[in-house]
């Protein structure tokens, strides 16, 4: 780790903006896990709570951007400091999107409550959400500790999420083919699975940013991707 700045206010500003990221990360992880739980347990109050909670995440992203603009204008960060500010802005934008996906999951959980149940689907979704939540947590831990190794691992582990998504895709397709009355519910469930898979991609983006922050360059080789089910995106 680098020494402190001679101007200590600079360190305080950098710490403050990174603390906002950690707060955002905490909120997003909780929103994702709560939304998946609300889906499985059909807890309307919890789903509504997640929907309302997204505002706080959006506001935090705005604060991060405002603080970063201030930091750039007033402190003219360079080298690691500059990379920290750039990384923080990108992570904030990724987390904001993840928050939106969690909110969308909560919305669909409310809609799915009014439909016939697809056996086992909510449980699978929740397992997938848990897996992605862990990815997100590890990506943010890698950010805090500037751990390029852990970030590289997160990047590879996104593959498992892709596989879970592909398995769910096939499962929903089967349900839809078996009984057309399942189509509405399965479409919702598929969007949920796809959105959670997108959260995994954002975790990967965050991990890549951590690698940039720690080493000064983005990883260049394409990360392995699980085959897409049925050639579908």
């Amino acid at each position: 780790m680098l020494n402190e700045h001679i101007t200590r206010a600079f360190d305080r500003d950098l710490e403050a903006v990174q603390a906002m990221i950690m707060k955002m990360g905490g909120l997003v992880e909780a929103a994702l896990s709560d939304a998946a739980k609300a889906l499985e347990t059909q807890d309307e109050a919890l789903a509504e709570h997640v929907r309302q909670g997204d505002k706080a995440i959006d506001l935090l992203e705005e604060s991060v951007n405002a603080e970063c603009a201030r930091l750039i204008a007033l402190r003219a960060p360079i080298a690691t400091d500059l990379r920290t500010v750039l990384t923080v802005m990108k992570i904030a934008s990724s987390l904001e999107r993840c928050g939106d996906y969690a909110k969308n999951l909560a919305k669909r959980a409310l809609v799915l409550g009014t439909m016939s149940q697809i056996p086992g689907a909510a449980g699978s979704i929740r397992r997938m959400a848990r897996q992605v939540g862990l990815l997100l947590k590890d990506a943010l831990d890698a950010f805090v500790s500037r751990d390029a190794g852990l970030a590289a691992e997160v990047r590879l582990r996104d593959q498992e999420v892709d596989q879970m998504y592909n398995a769910l895709f096939r499962e929903f397709l089967t349900h839809m083919m078996e009984d057309t009355r399942n189509i509405s519910a399965c479409m919702h469930l598929h969007f949920i699975a796809k959105n959670i898979e997108r959260v995994g991609d954002h975790a990967t983006t965050i991990a890549e940013q951590v690698i940039y922050l720690a080493t000064g360059s983005l990883p260049d080789e394409d990360r392995p991707k699980a085959e897409l089910a049925g050639g579908n995106a």
Binding site: L2, N3, E4, H5, I6, T7, F10, A76, P77, I78, A79, T80, D81, L82, R83, G216, S217
Partner: protein
């Protein structure tokens, strides 16, 4: 693609000044240790580093300004276009016509604006008549972005100009001999932000004609004007590279600490 790039790349690969294992001693004090530097043609090279790190000393080696300090000794090789500048056959006065210098404080001669600029061509006998001299004075004042401000009072004393104008006058004076390299030792430290911006703009324009080496304490100035940056510390050249790389991803922790304002 190339046209859309940010202006950070060095335009030429021609080496103008090459220093190898350069050493400078002040008496027994070893002020510059084993410095290897290539100064590219048509490129602005910035020297940065804390006070006393040797950057000004090294800059002054490049046109033998250190010759005037009796205790100073320079070793190693410094060449201009492949020819050693410390060769006994080299006349330092002629050398300084090829490698000009602008100092920290504007130091116009106590003469008219015109005579300040005409001085170099006169002593080097570069002109045959008044008309040619007038033309050089005008063209150099134009290049230094000063002409419009002084064309109606060329006979007024140079010392009567504002600080920023005086510094641009000194730059005009330094380029009258059509130097190949211009050395600038903190040329903006006594100037306000507007005059600084004018000098920086001027440096960028001059780059199309020759190479510029600038010593500066302002990290932002080094970042703004240079394409290559060298970081000196305790007489060593710690890191030398493309300016964008130095300021986004320095390789040496000492460079990082210094440019980002940390306790080293």
């Amino acid at each position: 693609m190339k046209d859309q790039r940010l202006e950070t790349r060095v335009d030429t690969q021609t080496i103008k000044i090459e220093a190898r294992k350069a050493q400078v001693y002040y008496g027994t004090n070893h002020a510059i240790k084993d410095v290897d530097v290539d100064i590219m043609d048509k490129t602005v090279t910035a020297f940065i580093g804390p006070s006393g790190c040797g950057k000004s000393t090294f800059l002054r080696c490049l046109n033998r300004m250190n010759d005037t300090i009796p205790s100073c000794r320079v070793e190693g090789s410094i060449t201009l276009e492949g020819e050693s500048i410390y060769d006994p056959r080299v006349d330092p006065v002629q050398l300084r016509a090829r490698i000009g210098m602008v100092f920290q404080k504007p130091n116009p001669f106590p003469k008219s604006i015109y005579d300040n600029v005409a001085y170099g061509p006169k002593i080097h006998g570069l002109t045959r008549n008044k008309a040619e001299l007038d033309a050089i004075v005008e063209s150099c004042l134009r290049k230094a972005a000063l002409w419009n401000e002084v064309k109606d009072r060329l006979q007024a004393p140079g010392t009567g100009l504002s600080g920023g104008q005086q510094q641009r006058l000194c730059i005009a004076r330094a380029i009258t001999t059509s130097p190949e390299v211009l050395l600038m030792d903190e040329p903006c430290s006594a100037l306000d932000p507007i005059a600084t911006a004018q000098v920086e703009e001027l440096i960028d324009e001059l780059r199309s004609q020759f190479s510029v080496v600038i010593v500066t304490h302002s990290m932002q100035q080094a970042a703004r004007v240079s394409q290559r940056t060298a970081f000196f510390h305790l007489g060593n050249l710690v890191e030398f590279g493309e300016t964008g790389q130095i300021f986004t991803n320095p390789k040496d922790p000492r460079t990082e600490s210094y440019i980002s304002g940390r306790i080293g």
